[in-house]
Symmetry: C2
Subunit: 334 residues, 2 copies
DNA sequence: TTGAAAGCGCTACCAT
DNA sequence: ATGGTAGCGCTTTCAA
C-alpha cells in the first residue's frame, strides 16, 4: 500500500506530529530530523493525501468553474486562462458546463459543495443572488466573471462591455452607417445588456436608426436565423452581433442570400474568439481579453481563499476594437 | 456550522451507523427509521462530505482528464463529451492541459494522485509507458484516448485513424489528384502516425506521388508555414492536413498567394471541428466522432472504477469523410 | 434491524 | 525541538 505519515514516522523514529510539521513547514524542527524525515519521504515514495489533509481542516486546492459550455470558443479560452492561473499556484479546476440550465447549475453547485471546493468562479449569467449569498454564508469563496450583482459584496472581474458596445457603434457610425441591426443575446444576461446599452448610448443624438432583433439567441444557427429575419424586415446597411458566433451566423446568412460583406453589408462581432479570425471575410470585432479574464478571475479567487476572506474587489478589463475585413462604408444608393 | 451525520443521528435518536446506512442504501433499515432519518436530513439541510467519505474508503467521484490544451476546438469538444458522461453518473472532471510538455504532465499526474482521483483519462500522446504502469500498480484506473500501448493492458477508445487516412487519400485520388502534399503532426503521436500510414496505404500501387512536409506542427500558423514551404517546393494539386487547424493554415497560405481553393488546389482536413465548418471554402475533412470519443472514454473509465478493475477493452470508433467545398478535380494543365 | 467502535491519513493544540 | 492525542466526517465490520 501507499506510505502514510505513520510509515515515515516509524522509519524515522519520530512522531507523526513531527512528520506533519516538516511536511507543512510549520513549528520548529531541527535541521537533523528534518533531513531524516525528508530522506524517508524520498525513500518510501511517500505522498501526502490531499483528502486526509482536507478533512483535517486544510484546503482542497480545487476550485469549481461554472460556465455555460466548455465547448464554446470563448469559454474554452477563459477556461485555459483559469487553468493556467490555478496551476501556477497549485490549484486544480473542476469544469462545470451548465448549458444555461438552472437545474444543471443547481446540481453542480451541490456537488461542488459536497466536494468542499475552496472556491467557485461563476461565469454563468443567471445564478440567483440568494443562492450565491447562501454559498458565501457557508464560507464558500466566490468570484463572478463578466457579471456583477449590485449591492452584493462579491468580487468580480469583468470587461467594460458598455464601452465595448460603444466601440462597435462608433466604428459603424464613423463609417457612415445609419441603419444598423443588432442581433443580441438575451438581455437578461448582464454582459449582453451592457453591450446593448453602450451601443445605444453611442448612437444617441445621432440620426442613426437601430433595429433590435425581436428574438435573441446564442449560436451560429441562431445568428443565421435572426439575421435572415432582420434582413427581411429592415433595410439595414450594417449588422452588429453580440458575440462572434452569432456574427458567423450572420455571415452565413449573407452568403446564402448573395449579400456581399462588407460591400453590401457590414458586420461587426464581439469577443474576438478564434472564429472571428478564421472566417472569411475576417470579422471586425470587439476584443475581450478572454484569456486574461480567466486568469484574473481565478487569481482574485485564490487571493481570497488564501487570505481567508471573501473577495470583494471589482476588476474591470478594457475591450478594444479590432478592425478586419467585414466592415466598410455603406453602399451608395441612388 | 454544517450538519454532520452526528447531528442527524442525534436529531433522530439513532446511531451514525444507521444514518450512514440510509445514506448509502446499505444494510437493512426499517421503513420507519429510514423515513425519520430522511426527514432529519431534509430538515437540517444535511449534505454528505465527499471528502470524509473518500477518506473512509469510498470513491472521490472525480476523474482527471489529461489533454494537450482545453483551448483547442478538438479537445474542447472531447472534454464536453467527457464532462457530460461524467455528469450523468455523478462524477466530476478535472481538466489538465499539458501543452505537450512532459514536466507539466508529470506535475499534474502527481497532483491527481494526491487528490485520489478515481481514475484518469489520458488524451496526451506521450506519457511514458512506465509511468502508466506505475499508476496502474498503485490502483489508479486509466483509460487512453486516441492512443494505445501495444501489449499494455490499458483500456482505450480510439478512432480508426488508419481508415481515416485512407478515406482522405481515396477521396483525393478518386478526384484525380496524383501529386499530393501532406502537412503532418509529429509522427511520434500515434494518431498522426496512423493517419499517415492509412494515407500511404491507399496511395500504394497507384501512380500518385506523395510529398510529406519535412517539418511538422500543430496550429494554424504552423499549417500556413508548412503549406508555404510545400507549395514552394513541389507542384502538388492537393494538400492534406492531419488536423483542421493545420488545414485552416493551409487555406490562409493559399489566400495569401492568390491560390484558389479548390480550383487551383484541393485541401482536405482532419477532425471535423467547428473550424472546418465555418471557414471559406468550407473544408472537406475526415470527421472523428469527437464528442462521442470523449463520452465513450469516460464511460469506459467509470465502468472500470465501478467494477473495481482496470479497464482493458479497446473500443474503436469509425471516422467518415465529409465532402464540402475545398476539394475538386485537379486543374487541367496543358 | 440497530449500534459500538475501529479506522481512513492528516492537522493542530497542548504538553513535555 | 518533539510527541501525545483529539478530532475532521464518514464507512464498515462485528455484536447485540
Amino acid at each position: 500500500m501507499k506510505a502514510t505519515i505513520y510509515d515515515i514516522a516509524k522509519a524515522t523514529g519520530v512522531s507523526i506530529a513531527t512528520v506533519s510539521k516538516v511536511l507543512n513547514n510549520t513549528g520548529r524542527i531541527s535541521e537533523a530530523t528534518r533531513k531524516k524525515v525528508l530522506n524517508a519521504i524520498e525513500e518510501l515514495g511517500y505522498e501526502k493525501s490531499a483528502i486526509a489533509s482536507a478533512l483535517a481542516g486544510k484546503n482542497t486546492y480545487t476550485i469549481g468553474f461554472l460556465l455555460p459550455d466548455i465547448n464554446n470558443p470563448f469559454f474554452a479560452e477563459v477556461a485555459r486562462g483559469a487553468e493556467d492561473a490555478a496551476f501556477e499556484r497549485g490549484y486544480s479546476v473542476l469544469i462545470c458546463s451548465t448549458d444555461h440550465r438552472e437545474e444543471k447549475e443547481r446540481s453542480y453547485l451541490k456537488t461542488l459543495r459536497h466536494k468542499r471546493m475552496d472556491g467557485l468562479v461563476i461565469a454563468t449569467g443567471t445564478t440567483p443572488r440568494e443562492t450565491l449569498e447562501e454559498l458565501m454564508d457557508e464560507g464558500v469563496r466566490i468570484v463572478l466573471m463578466s457579471r456583477e450583482i449590485p449591492g452584493a459584496l462579491i468580487g468580480s472581474v469583468m470587461v467594460d462591455n458598455h464601452r465595448g458596445g460603444q466601440l462597435a457603434a462608433e466604428h459603424l457610425l464613423s463609417l457612415g452607417h445609419r441603419k444598423i441591426g443588432l442581433i443580441m443575446e438575451p438581455l437578461s444576461i448582464g454582459s449582453a445588456h451592457d453591450i446593448f446599452r453602450g451601443f445605444q448610448k453611442a448612437a444617441e443624438g445621432t440620426d442613426a436608426e437601430l433595429f433590435v432583433s425581436k428574438e435573441t439567441g446564442f449560436g451560429i444557427e441562431a445568428g443565421a436565423r435572426l439575421a435572415g429575419e432582420m434582413l427581411a424586415r429592415h433595410e439595414v446597411t450594417a449588422l452588429f452581433a453580440a458575440n462572434d458566433e452569432l456574427a458567423v451566423g450572420v455571415l452565413q446568412a449573407c452568403r446564402e442570400r448573395g449579400i456581399r460583406v462588407p460591400e453590401d453589408l457590414s458586420v461587426v462581432g464581439y469577443d474576438n474568439t478564434i472564429l472571428s479570425r478564421i472566417v472569411t471575410p475576417a470579422l471586425t470585432t470587439v476584443a475581450q481579453p478572454i484569456y486574461e479574464l480567466g486568469r484574473r478571475t481565478v487569481h482574485l479567487l485564490m487571493d481570497g481563499i488564501e487570505n481567508e476572506n471573501q473577495p470583494k474587489n471589482r476588476e474591470v478589463l478594457e475591450p478594444r476594437l479590432i478592425v478586419r475585413e467585414s466592415t466598410a462604408p455603406p453602399p451608395i444608393h441612388r
